[in-house]
């Protein structure tokens, strides 16, 4: 093209198709991205967004389809080929060598010669230039694992720019960021766009799409279902396109009616396996009939707090009271007997044994209950009957207690855990990331159950890195930053206020 019209496509994907075994991750996808624009791709978890972008970046190979860059068909056999045509990608799970310095990570694959010494000086200079041009500050000699996630992400962006990327793909970049960090990232992205770079932004957060993109494409179950000009669409329309039906974006809940204190934490300090203090002198109460939400960016001690209360991690000092009784040294089974149910943050790691059949997972941890067997023997029929009831009540699909748990989708797996814990009718419920990796339909369902628990007079402690989730469910919000509770707000607190607190800026 002779004229540099802004409408010229930087990327065209034609008929991209990809299967992982039986999973059809991308179905005949067509996508056109205009040069110099920010193009959003939105879709629920598992819709195939990461797969599509990884194909563009040469990380996976498409089974069929064509990729054109600036109008020219290209074959992208590996990431090297993608880099060669000017594509850079910031992966959802960072691709950084954690015990390397920033500089080493940036140089990896672009060292500028057999010996490192030669490249180091020029890489340092180039890094400085990129830092100044785009406001991407980071210490070149810092070790990755010692940097906050926000900086790690900047390193990923720097890596792409250092390799001369004209097209930058960011896969769910804000999942790990505080709201102010996300704002900073968006500023950087706008500068990049204004300098002529093309940006693809993947997210499942509608708000971000509206805030920064020029165009947005929606994916659902492996298909590209729509592309809209951002200015001409609404959050409601996008949500409907994502899910395929109308959804309630806000949970309905009445006022809380708090009763007696059921759970209290006093001066709790918890260290991780390396001896680093993760929870630092934390105290709070949760009453019957209220939901207390703990907001915070991932890694600020919420996980350790939750594990300590659940009896999985031993606190180094402080006390936890359940129903008025100190529970130091009580194991998770003992806590369950006291009426504490725990929905762990990571269902794969702690909540489920993926190789078990559904009915086995649906009683996991409660296998000593006389309902499910006698002495050392399990009563499989009773277990399966019980599982079937839960499946019906929670609309778990497919409704088959004999199916291996790994074959359920993320949302249904989560429902298995939620059903198991809630159906025990506990007095207290502690929940980590109730809807991580769960589709919107199931989110709505799980949120309703949590509110029902509250209305039935249970004490609910909720930890989530999704600020929206915390805000829509909680009656009180505690904000955690660097292991401390830096403040308490009511459930109506504004996002801005909370965001600043989460960043450790204001209390």
């Amino acid at each position: 093209m002779s004229l540099d019209s802004p409408k010229e496509p930087a990327i065209e994907l034609v008929g991209i198709d990809k299967k992982f075994g039986t999973v059809h991750a991308n179905k005949n996808i067509n996508l056109t991205v205009a040069k110099g624009s920010i193009h959003g791709i939105i879709g629920e978890n598992g819709a195939g967004k990461s797969t599509l972008m990884s194909i563009l970046y040469g990380f996976y190979q498409a089974d069929h389809g064509e990729i054109r860059i600036s109008g020219k068909p290209v074959t992208i056999r590996d990431s090297q080929a993608a880099i060669a045509v000017g594509i850079g990608m910031v992966h959802q799970h960072f691709m950084l060598v954690e015990n390397f310095t920033v500089l080493e990570n940036v140089m990896l694959g672009a060292e500028g010669g057999q010996l490192l010494a030669k490249g180091v000086a020029s890489a340092r200079k180039e890094l400085k230039r990129l830092e100044d041009d785009y406001g991407l500050e980071v210490d070149p000699d810092g070790i990755i694992e010692e940097l906050p996630v926000g900086s790690q992400q900047r390193v990923e962006i720097l890596k792409a720019l250092y390799r001369g990327a004209d097209i930058l793909i960011l896969d769910e970049p804000t999942g790990v960021l505080t709201p102010p960090e996300a704002d900073h990232l968006f500023k950087v992205l706008r500068v990049l766009r204004d300098q002529g770079k093309t940006i693809i932004l993947i997210t499942h957060k509608l708000r971000e799409i509206m805030a920064i993109t020029d165009t947005v494409s929606v994916m659902r179950r492996g298909e590209m279902v729509a592309t809209r000009k951002t200015a001409e669409t609404t959050v409601e329309e996008l949500a409907e396109l994502m899910v395929g039906r109308r959804v309630l974006l806000h949970v309905e809940k009445g006022a809380a009616n708090p009763g007696a204190v059921l759970m209290s934490v006093r001066n709790l300090t918890v260290k991780d396996s390396r001896g680093v203090t993760m929870v630092d002198d934390v105290s709070f109460d949760v009453r019957a009939g209220e939901i207390v939400g703990i907001a915070g960016v991932a890694g600020n001690g919420q996980s350790e707090l939750l594990e300590a209360i659940a009896g999985i991690r031993k606190p180094s000092s402080g006390e936890i009271f359940i129903d008025g009784k100190p529970v130091a040294g009580v194991d998770p089974a003992g806590l369950r007997d006291l009426g504490l149910a725990h929905i762990p943050e990571d269902r794969h790691h702690m909540g489920l044994v993926l190789k078990f059949e559904e009915y086995e997972n649906s009683i996991l941890g409660y296998h000593r209950d006389p309902r499910y067997g006698r002495g050392p023997f399990l009563d499989l029929d009773a277990m399966r009957k019980d599982a079937e009831e839960k499946i019906a009540k929670y609309d778990i699909r497919p409704p088959n207690p004999r199916l291996r748990t790994a074959n359920f989708s993320g949302g249904n797996q989560q429902k298995i855990v939620v059903a198991r814990e809630i159906e025990r009718d506990p007095k207290m419920l502690i929940i980590g990331q109730p809807t991580r990796g769960v589709d919107i339909g199931a989110i709505e369902f799980i949120h309703k159950r949590i509110i029902e628990m509250r209305d039935a007079g249970k004490a609910v402690l909720l930890v989530s890195v999704e600020l929206d989730e915390i805000r829509s469910l909680s009656d009180r919000i505690l904000v955690m930053f660097a292991g401390k509770i830096v403040g308490e707000k009511s459930g109506e607190a504004g996002e801005q206020t909370l965001g600043l607190m989460m960043a450790g800026i204001a209390a």
Partner: protein, 323 residues
């Protein structure tokens, strides 16, 4: 003999005993830093000892023997790579299998070719690496302290010994100062980072295994045609495992690897010296205690008493993109 002479003689034999450990541990360093566990070092060492002895016996040339040892060791590396990199098999299983293959094959072939119950023929002197007397060793001998140290510990070793110590700074330089080393360390920590940087993970790992095979070939050669004059059944005798222990003990770093190998070599030499001797008060100390010490020390280290050993993060995990 006074105590100093005894000490010097133990030290001399400690150096000699640590050489196969050093080559092997450095070999392990390259493969494990690239994310490939190499329990098959033992087998590689054994096979290359056999190959070196055969070639040296037939050709009467030590250097050809070395080439033979290295060649066979690299072939073993390729088998390990094919199983664990290309076919993404379990690295431990593949390594253990190689150990069995080496143990069996050396006996079978040795018996078929030499008919001496698993021994190879006696390698003639020109087919062996003999000790080199460094200039001035004899003159220095009478200088107190430094003299015996120079004459009996530093001088009087064969060329492979000097090569082994030279390999330490070279390994360090390769790992930390070259592009190859940067990529190698990266692939052992996070192969995804290497892949997305446009570098082939498989090829990087194969190359690290080739280096490992190369170094391990020296170790085997040293056993059969530098330290002895023939291949003997199972002559590696667990040294591959001790070298792995040294590697862990040294937290996967080149210079500490050398120190750990010297320490373990010293324990071995000391055990030999103590054999049959009785100590005042305690009586005869079973040598097995000294032989077990490297493993005990490594366990103590792993239990976290001497800092923490942080293995390469991606070690032992085949690299797969599609679940």
């Amino acid at each position: 003999m006074d105590y100093f002479d005894i000490f010097i003689s133990i030290l001399g034999s400690a150096v000699r005993l640590s050489i196969p450990l050093l080559f092997t541990a450095l070999a392990g360093l390259f493969s494990e830093r690239a994310g490939i566990f190499d329990i098959g070092l033992e087998g590689k060492m054994l096979a290359s000892a056999f190959a070196a002895a055969c070639v040296a016996y037939w050709t009467g040339n030590a250097w050809f023997g070395l080439l033979g040892g290295i060649g066979v060791s690299i072939v073993f590396s390729f088998v390990h790579g094919f199983a664990s990199i290309t076919n993404r098999g379990n690295q431990i299983v593949s390594g253990v299998a190689l150990n069995f293959v080496a143990a069996g094959l050396t006996i079978v072939l040795g018996q078929a070719w030499f008919r001496q119950g698993g021994r190879t023929g006696q390698v003639p002197p020109e087919g062996r690496f003999s000790s080199i007397v460094l200039p001035g060793a004899d003159m220095m001998r009478d200088v107190p302290i430094i003299g015996p140290l120079y004459a009996n510990v530093i001088s009087g070793n064969n060329i492979l010994t000097y090569i082994a110590f030279l390999m330490v700074p070279i390994s360090w330089w390769v790992l930390y100062r070259t592009r190859f080393g940067l990529r190698l360390r990266a692939v052992g920590e996070n192969p995804g980072a290497v892949d997305t940087a446009g570098i082939s993970v498989a090829w990087m790992r194969y190359r690290s295994l080739i280096v490992a095979g190369f170094l391990c070939g020296f170790a085997g050669t040293y056993l059969s045609i530098a330290q002895s004059a023939a291949f003997i059944n199972n002559m590696s005798a667990g040294k591959g495992y001790i070298a792995l222990a040294a590697l862990i003990f040294a937290k996967w770093k080149p210079v500490p690897v050398m120190l750990a190998c010297l320490l373990f070599g010293f324990l071995d030499a000391f055990a030999n010296f103590m054999q049959g001797k009785s100590m005042p008060l305690i009586g005869e100390v079973p040598v097995q205690i000294f032989q077990a010490l490297p493993y005990i020390l490594t366990c103590v280290l792993l239990a976290g008493f001497i800092g923490t050993a942080r293995p390469p993060k991606a070690g032992g995990v085949p690299y797969t993109k599609e679940r």
